[in-house]
Amino acid sequence: MSDLDQQMYREVILDHYKNPRSHGVLEPADATAEGQNPLCGDEVSVYVRFDGDVISDISFEGRGCAISQAATSMLTEIVKGRTASEVATMPKDELLDEIGIPLTPIRLKCAILGLGVLKVALHKAKGTPLPEEWRGMDGDDLTIG
């Protein structure tokens, strides 16, 4: 095992995994979407409320690996208070920097599942553009992998 390996499950990741922030269903919600990563069997649903164009509240539910669930939990903290179009164009690197761990290409899909689902929810509710990598995935059922 290398030091790099151990960083993957650094404390902040395990903390978000075990104590996810903004966890649960928002009812009613202005926007929702769900998605899976068939590779791990990760599942994430997001619920968003708007104040105008601003994300005033957000929650998620899901099950899956520590990376997917912790990343989505961190994402909810990042995007609250931002506008839909800001989040729609948010590069995935911003989330990955926050997660701050080395990820193999396979685990990268776990890490960005929540972000993809959120972008689909915003697209459905606000018509924000879906970047190339999420095109064709704008149904209720986002599948990456």
Partner: protein
């Protein structure tokens, strides 16, 4: 399990045939516990393929020159080895495919499209790999046939008392089942299902991808009509698999792929099909791979399937006993004497992908996921499992390392 004491194999010695184990990280080779997904390849297979490419390679069947004759002899020799391996009556009934998956699709399309319709019932099981599930689900929808499944009990064994109810739904035309479950290792009662299928006037399709590497196969004793398996799970190269089918059925069926080799004559008006097995082998096949497949069958036959089965049984007993000692582990599937060398489990509060990731730090290779058996995952109430699987080169030390690795996982997660 019938095991003769004389049939013991020496895994440590066999490992000398597998260069992958020469590679060490921190002084240890990989603990390769993912053979159910694909096996490592012995140098006998690799050397033979190189030799074949260097000295016997040309396209098969049509060439009149010496190299083409050698290539054809090698390719057709492999077909005979496949025939012998499954005790099929004739090598004309053995079709080389790209994989077991392609073999199963071939049956579903070529047989299913022609023979299924409304009022008919296609029967699969809750244990199926997607390769023997999705093609039938698709063809059933397309033809209007009903798609029924045999449920499993909590141990992952088929509930055959559901058969009467299934028969009452219409004309049962196909029963498709894996001989061994790739996720749980369950050995299924295929002979019984085949007998029942024939009572209904149905055909019996056996997915033997997971059985062929570990058990002696005899299509005549199983009483099935089709059987599919692949090379890469039996120490052979990837890219080639085999379908066996009863001649009467194969002869009635339309081709699955069209092109060269599969025709008898072609004119602007009509085309007639080549004889078996070439009718189903359009295009240039995986020639050297088929050849290597045959060599791999020789390799495992020489080690001995009884010995392989007994060796895996010892490892699976060791693994199940040791796993049961770990707090928070749930083992899926039947007791060791009713499964092959496969153990699927979950560790409470840790996703299998995280388990596999941490085991990888210790150079332990296991599979995490749904194992292409999502209906089974649903039945078990999990999204995924961690699966360890064994083969002829697996060692008791591999199991010890798995167990130590799981303690590391628990430590990392505070689980």
């Amino acid at each position: 399990m019938a095991v003769t004491p004389a049939a013991k194999l020496d895994a440590q010695k066999l490992r000398a045939d597998f260069a992958v184990f020469d590679e060490v990280v921190n002084g240890k080779p990989v603990a390769y516990l993912d053979s159910a997904s694909s096996t490592q390849k012995p140098r006998q297979v690799l050397d033979s393929m190189r030799e074949f490419y260097e000295h016997s390679y040309a396209n098969v069947h049509r060439g009149v020159y010496t190299l083409a004759e050698r290539a054809t002899a090698g390719y057709e020799g492999a077909r005979e080895k496949v025939r012998a391996y499954i005790n099929a009556p004739s090598s004309r009934e053995v079709i080389f495919t790209r994989s077991a998956t392609e073999a199963l699709n071939l049956i579903a399309y070529s047989w299913g499209l022609e023979n299924l319709g409304p009022g008919d019932v296609v029967v699969i099981t809750e244990l199926e790999h997607h390769a023997n599930f999705v093609p039938w689900q698709f063809i059933a929808k397309k033809t209007g046939a009903e798609f029924a499944h045999i449920p499993i009990d909590d141990l992952g064994e088929l509930q055959l008392d559901a058969l009467d109810e299934i028969a009452s739904r219409g004309n049962v035309k196909v029963v498709a089942n894996n001989l061994v479950s790739n996720t749980l290792g369950t050995i299924n009662p295929v002979e019984k299902l085949a007998a029942w299928a024939h009572e209904q006037g149905a055909i019996m399709v056996v997915d033997a991808a997971q059985a062929a590497p570990h058990k002696k196969l005899d299509v005549q004793a199983l009483g099935c009509d089709f059987l599919a398996f692949s090379s890469h799970k039996i120490c052979g190269p990837s890219g080639v698999g085999a379908l066996w089918g009863r001649r009467e059925l194969l002869e009635e069926m339309q081709p699955f792929n069209f092109g060269g080799e599969m025709i008898r004559s072609v004119s602007l008006e009509r085309t007639s099909w080549n004889e078996l097995p070439y009718k189903f082998e359009a295009g240039t096949p995986a020639i050297a791979e088929a050849y290597g497949f045959g060599v791999a069958l020789d390799y495992v036959s020489e080690v001995g399937l009884d010995a392989i089965e007994a060796h895996e049984h010892e490892l699976v007993v060791q693994a199940m006993d040791a796993l049961a000692e770990i707090d928070g582990i749930r083992i899926f599937g039947p007791p060791a004497d009713r499964r092959t060398g496969i153990v699927s489990f979950e560790l409470e509060n840790v996703h299998p992908h995280d388990v596999a990731q941490i085991l990888n730090w210790e150079n332990i290779a296991v599979r995490a996921g749904h194992h292409c058996t999502q209906p089974l995952m649903t039945r078990l109430g999990v999204a995924a499992t961690t699966r360890a699987s064994f083969y002829l080169y697996s060692l008791p030390e591999d199991v010890d390392r798995l167990i130590a690795g799981l303690h590391k996982v628990k430590e990392t997660f505070g689980a």
